[in-house]
Symmetry: C2
Subunit: 494 residues, 2 copies
């Protein structure tokens, strides 16, 4: 991995001057085209050996390009808003929108590189898997990810640190950590090699550049940025490269998971009232224990129109203090959301410790409405199952209790509710032409929802399929499931 | 202020039940209309005596309304991202978009109410002025601001705290601060009365409600919310109520501020190079002292097209580490920005301590392009001068060094640069039809910019009018002014 970057590459001043003009003009032109098309963003990730020129490279990129659509991000100690959420939240919040460029110092590699020297192998393996999935997802979404490793051999590193320390104006730049790296060079480099090898994806390969000679480094990095940017811009559309996915197989006997669900569960109003009060009381108590244990909760509600999502959500939130929760309705994305990978709009609502976020419809829209209406191509919604499972695993790993509900009603019951809504004053707004159109696609939704449950029903973030023809039953079932999920997680923490 | 809220108001159960149904249906219908029109947002602010029912009121509002377009926000200890910025930043970041409702606990009153009992009169006066301006601006932007003060007489407060403490399930809710409030009731209430009286704006009056009886409190608050919401919805447009402003007077002799500016300052390239290196070095050093003193910097660049804003900005940023600054180009707002008061899109880019944000065009668009093109009504851009001065005063008070540049070129020089751009390859993109159209409005821009400088040239955030027909001169003048501003501020801190 690092062999070619120890050869002592260097570029003389005349060659550099010649190349510089060409590169600068090329980068500016490419950046402009990127901004005007605005159909994909660029992430340039700078990692490497200490003192190998990460800062200088970032400065150079910003100097050579138009600083208005390129920004840098360093990842030092996380802020308290960041530590209260899953580790990758801080990366999601700074992803550049389409048409823009972000330069990340270390990015998602900073942490594993400098803090896992002594090898918690399991944690390292998990982090590497997370990184692979993140980068694959970004690439699939059209993000151009360019990862640079600036390298120095042991001797060159020693020489560089010595040089910096000798000059009082630069001595402050040499940190104790830099010295430790030098002392422990071989072992550190071995870890880095493992990490780089295992994250050297076809979609986002590592680009190792010797960091010793500033001219060589500048031409190498900027040249590669220009090439890669030009290559991606030359495609007619970033979507083109997506491979077609084979369609999911329909059940041969025509029986689907959700067909088998019992929809009607009688529950009379008096009994409902008693059980509701009990369940809400229990839920209230359980939620109060969350914050102290650095836990939070996410609840997802999916189901046909008029399945009773809103009513169930109100019975959940009524048990809580208004400061504890947020209900996020998912409708058409805003244009800031459209300029990002599709999971971005959900990441921004991930709750901090102690809080509940309720999603009224969710990321599952990708494999439901977007699949059915053709807003997402088959390859896009096919890979979404995997991306969603990874997203939810990140949540649960970070202490977020995830519960997911499919509220299932019969077609007859839906019709009855539509008609009832049209008849009652303030409920009339709830029925739109779109609801009637969706109703005609009932079968497609049952198929898509069955596939969804099958592929995203994980032990940590299970689906609860709830027969909801009786609203009372559905609401109690929802609250009970949320209580159970909390109780189980709290017990595990003890 | 509090007299009527000590009368022991109460509502019996039957009356409450009757009213409840009407209110709930009304609130839901109004909320739906609000969401569908989405032309203004609602801020409900809950303040008051301890234990007077703020939490219960918020819970009730969220229970009675559709939780999908209403959210609550509490303002406890600021996060570290918040403390690194001006005090009001945390309010701006949670303002609800048009069509939505936010319930704020205390909001911008939390801090002055509970922490300024002993009266730093000057700080209190400043805070009150800030609040007045904020609320006036919000109202002018169409935000419906409803401020509730939940009150308890001294006896009722005593009784309430006693009751809570007697029950082990509620005893935890009584804090030491609550007890201090009771002990010091008269003096505290006197402070509150002053605060309320001085912030009782016509646009956002206080609504004092006795908090003792839960039924009375619920009907009063929800009834007032419904009335106010209905009133605002009944207007054909929230813009309608804006009064027409008298036009600004043109200079009688036709001479405007910017006409008097000398545009040409000879500076040869060799001298420019030397001075640039010196100024950049000085700037670099000054910027490094910022973070430790909890200071940051905002630089605003305005000027005609092709005045050299981009080039000057690049000479500024080239002196810095890429991690220290961000360049924010201001073009058309995104739809999330359109759903907020116009200053919101600038607040979101206010830098934390130690950083520089460069705005390539800025909030001054309100009194330049928006005035000239008629995007903002006269009353809107007329009040903008004041709003902008307040915004900048908030920045400078919080340790942000604000510098503002108007780069001035002659019409001939602009023509020369346009033609040059059209002739050179990668610069061609910089010229659009709009630039030619703007050029025809040259005179309007000179008038608007002259008014702007006249009205927003404050000692703390001064304008620097820079004759920029010679680019070299302009760049040096910009860097020198930034250095001077930093040096002056740093000196004051010593």
């Amino acid at each position: 991995m690092f062999e070619a970057a120890q050869l002592g590459h260097a570029v003389d001043k005349a060659t550099f001057k010649n190349e510089e003009a060409r590169l600068r003009e090329g980068l500016l032109a490419a950046q402009l085209q990127l901004r005007q098309r605005a159909d994909f963003p660029v992430v340039i990730l700078l990692a490497g050996v200490p003192a190998a020129g990460k800062g200088e490279t970032a400065n150079l990129l910003l100097e050579w390009m138009d600083p208005r659509s390129i920004a840098t991000h360093a990842f030092d100690t996380p802020s308290d808003e960041e530590t209260a959420r899953p580790p990758f939240w801080r990366f999601w919040r700074i992803l550049p929108p389409k048409g823009n460029i972000a330069v990340l110092f270390g990015g998602w590699y900073a942490d594993p590189l400098w803090h896992w020297q002594d090898g918690d192998e399991e944690r390292m393996a998990q982090r590497i898997e997370r990184i692979q999935r993140l980068e694959k997802m970004l690439a699939d979404e059209g993000v151009l990810v360019l990862k640079f490793w600036l390298h120095l051999s042991r001797d060159k590193l020693k020489q560089r640190l010595k040089g910096l320390q000798a000059d009082p104006r630069t001595a402050w730049r040499v940190t104790p950590e830099d010295k430790r790296f030098l002392k422990d060079y071989d072992r550190r480099i071995a870890t880095c090699r493992t990490l780089l090898t295992r994250t050297n994806l076809a979609e986002a390969p590592w680009r190792v550049v010797e960091g010793w000679d500033a001219n060589y480094r500048a031409l190498s990095v900027c040249g590669q940025v220009l090439d890669a940017l030009g290559h991606q811009l030359a495609r007619e559309s970033v979507k083109q490269r997506r491979v077609d996915a084979a369609p999911l197989v329909k059940s041969i006997d025509g029986v689907r998971l959700l067909d088998a669900l019992r929809l009607e569960h009688p529950l009379a109003k008096p009994e409902y009232r008693d059980r509701l009060a009990l369940a809400q009381g229990r839920f209230h108590g359980l939620m109060r224990s969350l914050a102290a244990r650095r836990l939070s909760m996410v609840a997802v509600f999916e189901g046909m129109d008029a399945a009773g999502k809103g009513g169930a959500i109100r019975r959940v939130t009524a048990a809580l203090d208004a400061r504890q929760y947020r209900v996020v309705p998912i409708a058409a994305p805003t244009d800031e959301e459209m300029a990002q990978p599709y999971l971005w709009r959900f990441w921004r609502h991930v709750p901090p410790y102690g809080r509940l976020t309720v999603f009224d419809r969710s990321w599952y829209g990708r494999v439901l409405v977007e699949r059915i209406e053709g807003y997402a191509a088959p390859a896009e919604w096919m890979r979404a199952y995997d991306e969603i499972n990874d997203f939810e695993a990140q949540l649960t790993d970070a202490g977020v209790v995830v519960v997911k509900f499919w509220l299932a009603i019969s077609q007859d019951e839906q019709l009855r509710r539509f008609q009832e809504r049209e008849a009652t004053g303030y409920k009339r707004f709830k029925i739109t032409d779109e609801d009637w159109r969706n109703r005609e696609k009932w079968d497609d939704y049952i198929q898509a929802a069955s596939d969804m449950v099958e592929r995203t029903n994980t032990p940590e973030a299970p689906w609860h399929l709830i027969g909801a023809d009786n609203k009372y039953h559905a609401r109690i079932a929802v609250l009970d499931a949320m209580c159970e999920a909390l109780a189980r997680r709290l017990k595990r923490e003890d």
